[in-house]
């Protein structure tokens, strides 16, 4: 053998014993460590679940705070808001699935859609239609007016989404992942302030057509008290579900859907297989923008309030919903949105906490779910490579 001491190694068969004793000590420590870490999660889970059950028992059985009528109202309100969250969340999920970036400006895209809807309805209200008594376009042809408003809102948002991708994200496709995120944040700030300067910071009310009057609705009697099922809410919920199902079919069945999935899996290979990656990404942004636009118009119809900041909070919530359901996963976004909506509306009541803390509750649910299912409720649909 030639001088093993020159190399920083244990020479043949010499020091293994010593290493072993060291290792043994280490081993014991690490066993303790890993046991602690491994037990931590289940213990946390049991404690939290027990607490939730305890609170539910207290509120529902012992205190019996709210009757079934209240619960029905809460459920309705949760489903409606959840439907809108789901629709916005789809935009995040589509973009995330294909580019692995958080499109932070998505809420602002929705906000512009809401403005487009607002102004469309105003304009329709101004257009006079002869009749007895003379009426306006909005109320003479309400269905046409609503369809037009949705088309305008979706077009505006889709266009915005398209240009957003083209200007702010496309040049950064090869940059480190945080760079497009910051670009998106910049775009979000820009769009918010642009809307503020263009349309003034005033809070505006949407003029609904008479048939979709806000506050009106079917009345059902639960537990001897009237529960209103608002028209706008039902409309919003049904339309969201229809759009989501439509999108799901599009992604599953159409050629564009296949191209999108291929691009999401592996851009290089997809390009080799003849998929136009750039245009697929553009179209993804157009679709997610259009959905956000629809969500914006619905938001206006149901909640009646539009201003430049209206997209920010739903944007954050919808992203939470997308992650909750499993990002990249379209049914996941839907489930996530609905779960989040219901948690927000029923959670505080069920656990007997202040409604002020509903966001705390929804984020805690998120943390809780992700602690046990790190890829969301329905699991993420992402390519291996990215991870």
């Amino acid at each position: 053998m030639n001088d093993p001491s020159s190399l920083p190694l244990t020479p043949k068969g010499k020091n293994n014993l010593q290493t072993n004793t060291n290792n043994a000590v280490k081993k014991i420590q690490s066993i303790q460590n890993s046991k602690f870490m491994k037990l931590l999660r289940p213990i946390l889970g049991v404690v939290v679940s027990l607490y939730i059950v305890f609170r539910l028992y207290q509120v529902l059985v012992v205190q019996h705070e709210y009757g079934p009528d209240t619960w029905t109202r809460l459920l309705i309100s949760g489903l409606i808001i959840g439907g809108v969250y789901a629709l916005i969340a789809i935009g995040y999920t589509l973009v995330y699935g294909i580019l692995f970036m958080i499109n932070f400006a998505h809420g602002e895209v929705m906000m512009f859609g809401a403005y487009a809807g607002l102004y469309s309805f105003w304009a329709f209200k101004i257009i006079p239609v002869a009749g007895n008594p003379p009426t306006n376009f909005l109320n003479a042809y309400p269905i046409l007016a609503i369809i037009l408003a949705f088309l305008i809102g979706m077009t505006v948002s889709a266009t915005l989404g398209y240009f957003l991708e083209k200007i702010a994200y496309r040049p950064l496709r090869k940059a480190p992942r945080l760079v497009p995120l910051i670009s998106a944040i910049g775009a979000s700030i820009f769009l918010q302030n642009a809307a503020m300067l263009l349309f003034s910071p005033q809070l505006r009310d949407v003029t609904n057509p008479e048939i979709l009057r806000r506050g009106a609705g079917w009345t059902i009697v639960v537990n001897g008290s009237n529960v209103v099922l608002p028209y706008t809410g039902v409309f919003t919920f049904v339309l969201s579900i229809l759009l989501l199902v439509g999108l799901y079919i599009l992604v599953r069945k159409s050629k564009l859907g296949r191209a999108m999935r291929a691009t999401a899996l592996d851009k290089k290979t997809a390009a080799l297989m003849g998929v136009d990656v750039d245009s697929t990404i553009s179209r993804t942004f157009i679709i997610s923008g259009a959905l956000a636009g629809a969500a914006g118009v619905m938001w206006g119809l149901h909640n009646g309030l539009v201003y430049y900041f209206v997209g920010f909070i739903p944007g954050i919530k919808a992203f939470t919903a997308a992650v909750l359901g499993g990002i990249g996963n379209i049914p996941g976004a839907m489930v996530g949105g609905l779960v989040l909506g219901i948690v927000e509306s029923m959670g505080p009541a069920a656990l007997g906490i202040d409604f002020q803390l509903k966001d705390v509750l929804s984020f805690l649910i998120l943390i809780f779910v992700l602690t046990f299912r790190p890829s969301g409720l329905l699991g993420e649909v992402l390519s291996e490579e990215k991870v």
């Binding site: 009757g67 009528d69 910071p201 938001w299 309030l305 900041f309 002020q356």
Partner: protein, 422 residues
């Protein structure tokens, strides 16, 4: 190479902008006899070297040469989620500056700076104003957080403040000599509102909501406490998340307690949504009782028929004085919006700025072609404001800086209009 180029462009741009800022800051008055801007000034000002006889003030004077403009500062959120308050109040104050006229040719101008409504922004703006010798007084700040951080900075150099909207009760308890406000104090408004609800409206079960803000929560807590003291029952107290447009969930839980009335401490933005959604959540028979934050034309347009029978409390000024009508017209002409449609504080913003201008007029001295505004005298003049009749009330400042201590007037929506309630 690219890096160099980029950096160069960036630096040049930054320098240029900074230069603009400097130019703007220094261009105004030619000199300050007692330089209030520097740190030294705060302590050495009285010894102001060669101060002319016109200026014999403990804190020195702001000096304006011919052609200079007397500036009144305002720190307000001009960007972000609360921008409508800042923009609206500063617009109201701008009109006050035009109406204030001039002192022997020296005109007034408003310098409204964005403080984002936060302490960080408030302190930044305050430091900027302190460095600008042309700023004699500050109509603000708008939010309590920014105000609290700005107060000690103005205190050092003697710039009086008159806030139209910072309602945090603690602001007037710190012994500040410069801070005054024409905003309603929560205590005064809240106690009276609770009494009114219990005694006049004969409400026995009250639900109390607030928007979680400094202002709304303060008011709601006081109302709840007083209502219980009066002998009523507060069935539920809930906070809502501001800025949202769907409160049906929280209203449903409120409805399950079957209150006779709902008191809300907060602003029109949320108040109008609440009123609208009360109808679909089983609260259609409960009375909505708001505060001065929910008062305004905007509330009427946003609630329509749903708003009928809603209450609010306002400062006792004649709701439609001649001056107010004139102001509303001017506001619409200039900014294209109905006064009060951006925030309920439009008129208060006008009042704060106008009252400050009046105080400046009171103490300013003209000598050898220059205008002197003695700072300590101005601070005293603002604190000494008595029976000043503004658009939003009549103000007399007390020794702690509270200038609006009248009993509130309660108003109710009747046939689509605010009318005085009995």
């Amino acid at each position: 190479m690219k890096a160099m180029k980029f950096l160069a462009v960036f630096m040049v741009l930054a320098l240029l902008l900074a230069a603009c800022g400097q130019a703007a800051a220094t261009e105004a008055p030619a000199a300050t006899e007692a330089p209030a801007a520097t740190e030294a000034a705060a302590t050495e000002a009285p010894a102001a070297s060669g101060a002319p006889e016109a200026c014999a003030d403990a804190l020195g004077c702001a000096v304006f040469a011919a052609g200079d403009v007397i500036k009144i500062g305002m720190g307000a959120p001009m960007t972000g989620g609360n921008a409508s308050y800042g923009i609206d109040i500063s617009q109201g104050a701008t009109i006050a500056m035009t109406d204030a006229g001039n002192i022997d040719g020296w005109t007034f101008a408003l310098d409204a700076q964005d403080d984002g409504g936060t302490a960080e922004g408030g302190a930044a703006v305050a430091n900027k104003f302190v460095a600008d010798p042309a700023i004699v007084a500050v109509a603000g700040h708008i939010f309590s957080g920014a105000t609290a951080a700005a107060m000690p900075i103005y205190e050092k150099v003697g710039i009086p403040m008159l806030s139209p909207s910072a309602t945090n009760p603690a602001l007037t308890t710190t012994g500040s000599t410069v801070f005054n406000r024409i905003a309603f104090t929560d205590l005064n408004q809240g106690n009276n509102a609770a009494d009114y609800i219990f005694n006049t409206l004969k409400v026995k079960k009250l639900a109390v909501l607030h928007d979680g803000s400094d202002y709304g929560k303060g008011l709601a807590d006081i109302v709840a406490a007083q209502f219980v003291k009066d002998g009523g029952e507060v069935v539920i107290e809930q906070a809502i998340t501001p800025g949202e447009t769907d409160y049906t969930a929280v209203l449903s839980t409120v409805a399950s307690k079957t209150p006779d009335a709902v008191y809300f401490g907060g602003y029109t933005a949320e108040g109008a949504v609440l009123v609208n959604q009360m109808k679909t959540t089983g609260l259609d028979k409960a009375i909505f009782f708001g505060c001065d934050g929910t008062y305004g034309e905007d509330f009427l347009t946003r609630t329509g028929a749903n708003g009928e029978g809603a209450y609010a409390s306002i400062a006792p000024a004649s709701p439609d004085s001649e001056a107010k009508t004139k102001f509303n017209a001017a506001y619409l002409e200039k900014f294209g919006k109905e006064a009060g449609s951006l925030s309920p504080y439009t008129w208060a913003g006008y009042d704060a700025a106008a009252a400050l201008a009046a105080a400046v007029k009171q103490v300013a001295v003209v000598a050898d072609g220059k205008l002197y505004v003695p700072r300590a005298a101005l601070v005293a003049a603002v604190r000494g404001l008595t029976n000043y009749v503004g658009l939003s009330g009549t103000f007399s400042c007390q020794s702690n800086g509270e200038c609006n201590v009248d009993k509130p007037q309660f108003v109710v929506v009747k046939d689509g209009k605010w009318t005085n309630a009995q």
